[in-house]
Symmetry: C2
Amino acid sequence: MLPAAALAELQRVFAADALSTDPAECLVYGYDNSRRQATPDAVVFPTSHEQVVELVRIGREHRQPLVARGRGTNTTGASVPTAGGIVASFERMNRVLRIDADDRIAVVEPGVINGDLQVALAPHRLFWAPDPTSAPFCSVGGNIACNAGGPRAVKYGATRDNVLALRAVAGNGMAFRCGTPTTKGSTGYDLVRLLVGSEGTLALVTEATLKLAPLASAKRTLRATYVDVGAAAKAVARIMAQPVAPCALEFLDDECLRLARGHGGDAIPLAGAMLVIEVDGEADTLPAAVDAIARAARGEGLEDLAVAEGEAEVAALWAARKALSPALRTLSPNKINEDVVVPVSRVPELVAATRAIAAKHALPIVCFGHAGNGNLHVNLLPRDEAEQARATHALDELFDVVIRLDGTLSGEHGIGLAKREFMPRALDAHALALMRAVKAQFDPDGILNPGKLL
Amino acid sequence: MLPAAALAELQRVFAADALSTDPAECLVYGYDNSRRQATPDAVVFPTSHEQVVELVRIGREHRQPLVARGRGTNTTGASVPTAGGIVASFERMNRVLRIDADDRIAVVEPGVINGDLQVALAPHRLFWAPDPTSAPFCSVGGNIACNAGGPRAVKYGATRDNVLALRAVAGNGMAFRCGTPTTKGSTGYDLVRLLVGSEGTLALVTEATLKLAPLASAKRTLRATYVDVGAAAKAVARIMAQPVAPCALEFLDDECLRLARGHGGDAIPLAGAMLVIEVDGEADTLPAAVDAIARAARGEGLEDLAVAEGEAEVAALWAARKALSPALRTLSPNKINEDVVVPVSRVPELVAATRAIAAKHALPIVCFGHAGNGNLHVNLLPRDEAEQARATHALDELFDVVIRLDGTLSGEHGIGLAKREFMPRALDAHALALMRAVKAQFDPDGILNPGKLL
């Protein structure tokens, strides 16, 4: 329950249609794609930086939790207001403020939908690299909060590599700007990258200056099938060890292929494993680049290597890949989708280990994802309560394997609630203590997204 | 003067040949390329992480300033022990611990010389992107401290973009690891990028995991001359607005050309301005890439565009470019070399403004540098005391211009002592306060490189 004084203050800042305490409406702003849920005491819809400054002031004064929300597509519970308080939905701060093609930057409000931004950039022959599956629905602010990635990250980097400057309001009430709209900068501590991936626990972002990349003129999609996952994983390491960077290098194991074929039809082959490889470039350089990638894709265990013919086949390959995540949910409403990451050379070991864990616990586990970054989506698919209980142990063992392989818990989804308990396994006690110390400075009252990440 | 108790403790940790309080030897470790100087009370030469942990413990216990030192090639006074205390020279922690070609990473101690690392990587057909002019002498640890760049940064990024993980000892005594040896990671706050560019004020780095890039098989060097600096600056913006990224895009103004010709001979033309453009790629893609860059380089004001013929001409172009900085010092022993950065589209305005400032103060000012990142080395060249006095005002105006053009104080040199007083112009008071708050957490006693950066 929001204190009456806090509500009164909110009402002074937010118009009636930009503030709700109606439980039915609040409910809608209390869940995300983790299927966790909690009802906030109020939802506000800021439309300006100044309102966010006021919001933080009110939150501090009344010690109310403030949970920033993009579009709730994240999978970790990071936007679930487990401690109640106020959800700040940034959906109305959705303006693209400036596109500067010469400097390859866009200045946006945090509520801009990733896909809308790409549409706005296309006439300038530019794009912003992060392309999570949820791109048509997720917001740039959410991408910043969890350091979102996607297939293109293998060549163009994830969110952290593509944000140049931020305007934000720290939990201590201080509004500030950090970074510069330049690709180089060495003026003080890097607060920009500190905020990216901090899941709304340090500051609320009100404006972002994004680094854009030029759209390549042409693109070619290859599909390579292998006798087994090990052979495919070794091909991934070979592809990444040569100089031509693919702009996507996606891996699907045999189970995924079976499922994907249901969505993508005959364009999806059945095999031990498949790589979907995308190469971009200029018309006159692309053929040589495709050759280089194809050479690396060949090797022991290759069954078939083909350049996708026509837009329909390319679309089917990608539709299948992108439909996998939701498809798996149909199969297992309680699926656990991890986005662990290991060094590329350890991908074969990771895949082998997930197989062993699946066998040991008699639990379906499938692997797919951004193999070029070593970032695999390991999906545990419990179908009943007994399997669910076993999945908990399997997950525990998975994280142990990942850490042993020099990897980490998350490549692009973040920590949120879901992986918080595993943080002491991924990070040493001193690193965690320093992160907590940073948190305490930015948010001394602990009002920003309490209970998440740390 | 080091307290006797502190010295006794240091002697227990460091062997006689790894510790000196001899003023003559201390003197040598008290200056850098800023020509500032101060004599520390002691110099130690750690050879292990554990010794650094002990060093910080002793520093804290006895409240002694600790100044980490690479090879003292920085230009900002960042490694000058202005508060006395202990200099930790990392020159003996210079092992390349591991090169992992499949994962494109190298694990190194901070004292490894940048150039030595590149030599060790070459057989693997890999390189580490940062390539400051001082690469043959400067250390990786120093590169990390000031977020060093160089010509290649325009395509491959600066130091911050190419460090994946660190081992370090914070000023509060906590030894920790942060980051992972993977190209993606979303597990907690990004302490790695926070340390990069922090100039030894937060923690002493004892190990770094570096992101490597594959060496392109071939490279082509172009030189383009223009009637004036404005035409060249516009060509820079055109080159950066198209999809093919050059791996170097260096700008030299007319004054620089005159000076460079003295070093590089006839290979250096006389013109209003020159761009040295380097394009790398595979043998079969390079010609098309060179064409794309050449098309962009053409335009109003182009005088001559030529692909450098033979290794000798390429070497002469680069030798001239790299010799400029020291050459200017001969001209003006008190030269002020700023490495300001502005958005690429504002480079013409920046160059024009420096011309106006030079005229107003009757002071030689030359511009050259990494134009593709908007990162220009603006060199003020006072030749006598009167010009030196005027240079102070000129510098002041230069920073005002840079901030007005949406740029910042430093692209790759850092802040140190030299630009500290200008920080409140580049950053708002809240951003500075948050940086100070972070500093206070990592280094509550203020022993790490006191008086620098903030």
